[in-house]
């Protein structure tokens, strides 16, 4: 469960490049809901996910995860509640460390890290079993450096890493954008499976209207730092890509969307 109340984020405050990236975002996401997030470039999608993860601290408003106010928590502290997969496969993993070292790192997310061995026999076995589930044959490459994997393999492993330690929410920022269509399809299927198996409260940013409607239970559109569309249930089921594209275009054209125009039949 995520409760976001009127958060504002401004970059470069007081400079000529000041950018008011989030202008009062309100959003309540119940436990286990899978929300897709769309919006044009610069709409504030990544900033919003960053604000949930703690990379940027909201200067106004509040954020609560499962009833705990995390508004002032820095990223490492929030990591106990938040798992993420980044758009760039390079950002989300340590390329110079081995696959199993990356997994060990992720498995300790939200725990105190002591002086015990990071890779004990039982953990290695556990990692091998988990990575075998991906069906990519990576169980025999645990000692390979992460940097040797292809982008798609790395995103798949990143997704798996997100589930090695318990978390309340999963944040996916265009995590298939750097992949070819076939691999993107595979990683998305994996995403759906992992989200369902772990019943994670999920936010997934995407630029594909098709994906936004096909995956998850709810879709929100951000525009200029505000949520301008929020559909779920029947209303969303009745929506198809052209509808969404039209709404999208309308936003880009600068026209205001009033509440009435959201009632698409």
């Amino acid at each position: 469960m995520i409760t976001v109340n009127g958060i504002h984020v401004t970059f470069g405050r007081g400079t000529p490049l000041e950018k008011h990236a989030l202008r009062g975002v309100d959003l309540t996401i119940p436990e286990g809901q899978f929300v897709t997030v769309i919006g044009s470039n610069g709409a504030g999608k990544s900033t919003f996910l960053g604000a949930l993860a703690g990379d940027v601290i909201a200067e106004e408003g509040s954020i609560a995860i499962d009833g705990v106010d995390v508004t002032r928590w820095a990223t490492p502290k929030r990591a106990a509640l938040v798992a993420r997969v980044f758009q760039d496969p390079m950002v989300g993993s340590c390329t110079a460390l081995t696959i199993e070292e990356n997994m060990a790192l992720a498995a300790a997310r939200g725990r105190r890290r002591g002086l015990g061995f990071a890779l004990r026999g039982d953990r290695r076995r556990h990692f091998r079993e988990r990575i075998a589930e991906l069906g990519l044959g990576l169980e025999n490459r645990l000692h390979d450096r992460m940097g040797l994997l292809s982008g798609g393999q790395r995103q798949a492993v990143s997704l798996l890493m997100a589930t090695l330690a318990g978390s309340k929410i999963l944040l996916l920022d265009e995590h298939t954008a750097a992949l070819d269509p076939g691999t993107a399809e595979f990683v998305l299927g994996l995403t759906r499976r992992i989200v369902e198996e772990n019943r994670l409260t999920t936010l997934m940013v995407t630029h594909s209207m098709r994906q936004a409607l096909d995956y998850g239970d709810r879709t929100v559109m951000l525009h200029e730092g505000r949520i301008v569309l929020d559909v779920s249930g029947e209303q969303r089921a009745g929506l198809d890509v052209p509808h969404l594209l039209a709404l999208f275009a309308k936003q880009r054209g600068g026209e205001d969307i009033t509440d009435d125009s959201l009632l698409i039949g």
Binding site: A53, A74, T75, P76, K77, A79, A80, R84, F86, V91, G92, S93, C94, T95, A96, L97, T98, E101, A104, L105, A106, A108, R109, G110, R111, R113, G114, L115, G116, F117, A118, L119, R145
Partner: protein, 299 residues
Amino acid sequence: MSEIAFFGAVEIGLVYALVALGVYLSFRVLDFPDLTVDGSFPLGAAVCATLLVAGVNPWIASLSAALAGSMAGLVTATLNVRFKILHLLASILTMIALFSVNLRVMGRPNVALLMQDTVLTPFYGLGLPDHVVRPLVVLVVVVAVVLLLSRFLNSEFGLAMRATGVNARMARAQGVQTDFHIYAGMALSNGLCALAGALFAQTNGFADVTTGIGTIVVGLAAVIVGETVLPARAMLWALVGCVVGSILYRLAVQLALSADAIGLQASDLNLVTAVLVAVALILPRMRLKAASKKREAVR
């Protein structure tokens, strides 16, 4: 090269192996280019020599020296992490400040250790010649440090420290308190360099404020030589590489100095080392360029 010169080179190589391990921690593990070393090495020598003169137990004196070095590392880390001063500049500030601190610690530019007991004293007179005893004792210390450090870097805490250096953003997203790991790593790194300084003072019988000049370059040279002769990915072997690199580097220097034909003097050492490190830094880049040119040619 005479037998004494050979053992002398191994001995100094082993002492500087601790510097190389420290430099490996800062430059390679944390990706933190740290020049504090030039100050923390003589700091270790100064603290140890002063305590020995005051009659303190040599092992306690050596550990105190390491502790003092850790403090120096913490100062650099604080300037960088807390006050956002660029790491190179932060470390230069600490290094310069340490020059004054070291003079204060010793009360004069150098201290001679003549009659004082050192960690080596109990091992002289066991039948082995002194010039063999010294490298042996240092070797035991170095082996212990390598084993402990390897164990540490393979722990959950150590893995988080390595991740901090490789990809801080990812590390934070995995709940790693990256700032804390930078503090810990810098303290450890400079503690090792100061311990090297303490052993240097005890094996050579003096501490001098000027011994620190160029320490960082020598440490880097050892790391680079080690990576070249022992390109290992496993933590333990990478650390062993630092030690081997440091010894090989000293042996090469000794060879060059003893070959009269080259006409090198001991005072040319810093120049030679700097050139060596510069070449070692340039070569991989040239190789990369050559490779990318080839790739373009194929296209």
